[in-house]
């Protein structure tokens, strides 16, 4: 427990302390003038910080929306229909989850370079979506399976069309599932904004928070209190989303592995 939380506590504590208190060796445990000064000053030290924050949110939102667009029909199909190669293709999806993006970087880099897409948002979104699709399909499939098929059949007998069934039965009933999968995709893509970002993008205007802050570590004197403050600001959104919805997310993610 201490092991897990100490880094966060220390990050927060360091962010409150003045820089000259941090730069004392050996480590001082006590500072008498704690303040949120670093949280004001960081906007000057990291001038592009608002832009990084915007980029992180923008990339995560676009990535998760695109993921959902691909995943909804596919998951519905897996939940409702029987067809050849159904199980084997589901296992292939699981296997994709095990490949790190690092293996695919070389061809992707070359292709993006040929099409002049390096240093754009697309360069980070396109590979990001691919790695979210597999888990998202598995998750959403299990939600769709919970909607009783009788409901659909009854509507069908009553003369409803497929589109009507989708709009009036499936959509409302699967909203909770869609929300959970959407949040999974958002957190997932927010968290994966490093490898693709440092590889495919050198432009500051498009950097998400992690790669933007990482740049500053290379400088000779790192203003650690501001760095920690900025990091915490970067962490906050996912942490807040997660705290509110942790019950659903954990239940969704573990149900596949455990009940299987």
């Amino acid at each position: 427990m201490i092991f897990i939380l100490l880094p966060f506590v220390e990050m927060f504590y360091a962010s409150l302390r003045p820089l000259d208190h941090l730069f004392r060796s050996p480590y001082q445990f006590y500072s008498d003038d704690l303040s949120f000064w670093a949280y004001r000053e960081m906007w000057n030290t990291v001038p592009m910080l608002p832009r990084y924050i915007f980029n992180s949110f923008f990339l995560a939102s676009v990535t998760s929306i695109i993921t959902l667009l691909f995943v909804i029909p596919a998951a519905y199909s897996y939940a409702r229909f029987k067809f050849p190669f159904k199980n084997s293709s589901l296992y292939i999806l699981l296997a994709i989850n095990m490949f790190s993006g690092a293996v695919l970087l070389i061809p992707l880099y070359k292709v993006l370079r040929t099409f002049g897409l390096l240093n754009t948002y697309q360069a980070m979104i396109v590979p990001g979506v691919a790695f979210l699709i597999p888990t998202a399909i598995w998750l959403l499939k299990s939600y769709f399976e919970k909607i009783p098929i009788d409901l659909e059949e009854a509507a069908f007998v009553d003369g409803a069309s497929r589109v009507q069934i989708l709009r009036h039965i499936i959509a409302p009933l699967s909203t909770p599932g869609l929300v959970v999968v959407g949040i999974y995709a958002f957190i997932g893509s927010y968290a994966q904004q490093f490898l693709f970002a440092i590889t495919f993008n050198q432009k500051k205007e498009y950097m998400p928070i992690p790669s933007g802050l990482y740049e500053f570590i290379g400088y000779t004197t790192v203003k650690w209190n501001e760095m920690m403050a900025a990091s915490l600001v970067g962490i906050a959104p996912v942490l807040i989303i997660f705290l509110f919805l942790q019950k659903y997310i954990v239940a969704g993610l573990t149900s596949g592995a455990v009940k299987n």
Partner: protein, 299 residues
């Protein structure tokens, strides 16, 4: 009969049509690059162009002492990291499953390292490991364990251990949560029966809990091995594979060759080795999963 057959094929078409967009996307962004990587590994591709060179990349790679060292190091790193994650995860899950006060809060509090972007968490660890001003060096100096500033990431062995610890920090929460979920799935009456038979707490753990959650332990160790093997950001941010290559794992080496030096051919050869190892892991995992599923459906 004819009608039924017709509707069956129509359904198949609909099913495939619905899956097609996702499938095509995956083929373009995942499957094609995998094949292209294999092709590139037989060339000397770089920013300048490419020529077919046969097995040259592989020959050079396998005859280099450095590469063999990297493979060994990757497995040692993985072994320690995965074992620690499993042990700490199991202990953590037992504690969280016990009837303690405030356990629901603790259950939430174990999770942050898992959800927070790894890269940002590592910025925090960089500060903790700071040799002059970091808290770990500070505690060491105050207690007299260290006699002066000590850069944890600046020396070969300490950097190796430090990256493992950071990796364990990232990976343990998920293991814990899965173990906990498995423990909660163990039927209550098993415990009640054992309780009536006068089994001790210890007995109950080793004779009921442990055997019941073994499938999850096995799957989690494989999954966690795969993720640890793939771990990139942690090492990259903390040490970039240094000092003097002491934390360079296969993934880091692949990345450095391919995108540090733009030697795509050599990088691709390494990526192929990574792929083959991953496929072995994945095959193992899927075979296991299929077996467990079969066993459950038989019962």
């Amino acid at each position: 009969m004819n009608q039924k057959l017709k509707s069956y094929t129509a359904q198949t078409y609909i099913a495939y049509a619905l899956i097609a967009p996702a499938a095509i996307y995956i083929i373009l962004i995942v499957a094609w690059p995998l094949l292209e990587t294999i092709r590139l590994s037989f060339t000397n591709s770089s920013l300048a162009g490419e020529d077919y060179v046969g097995f040259e990349n592989y020959q050079k790679m396998f005859s280099s002492k450095k590469f063999n060292g990297i493979v060994t190091r990757t497995f040692v790193w993985m072994f320690f990291s995965v074992s620690l994650k499993l042990i700490i995860g199991l202990i953590g899950a037992v504690l969280l499953n016990a009837n303690l006060k405030g356990r629901s809060i603790f259950r939430v509090l174990v999770m942050p390292p898992w959800v927070v972007p790894i890269a940002i968490g590592m910025l925090g660890w960089l500060w903790l490991y700071n040799g002059y001003f970091g808290i770990i060096a500070g505690v060491g100096m105050r207690t007299g364990i260290l006699d002066g500033p000590f850069g944890f990431l600046a020396y070969k062995q300490s950097a190796f251990i430090s990256t493992i610890i950071a990796d364990v920090w990232v990976g343990t929460p998920m293991v814990t949560v899965f173990f906990l979920a498995a423990m909660q799935g163990v039927p209550r009456d098993l415990y009640e029966a054992a309780y009536c038979d006068g089994a001790s707490r210890w007995d109950r753990f080793f004779k009921i809990t442990l055997p019941q959650i073994t499938p999850v332990i096995i799957t989690m160790s494989l999954l966690s091995a795969i993720w640890t093997f793939n771990s990139f950001e942690i090492i990259w941010i903390l040490t970039e594979g240094g000092p003097r290559g002491s934390t360079t794992t296969l993934i880091i080496d692949t990345y450095k060759q391919a995108l540090g030096n733009y030697k795509f051919g050599r990088g691709a050869a390494r990526a192929v080795v990574v792929m083959i190892l991953l496929m072995l892991f994945a095959g193992f995992y899927l075979a296991l999963l299929a077996r467990i599923n079969k066993k459950i459906s038989h019962e």
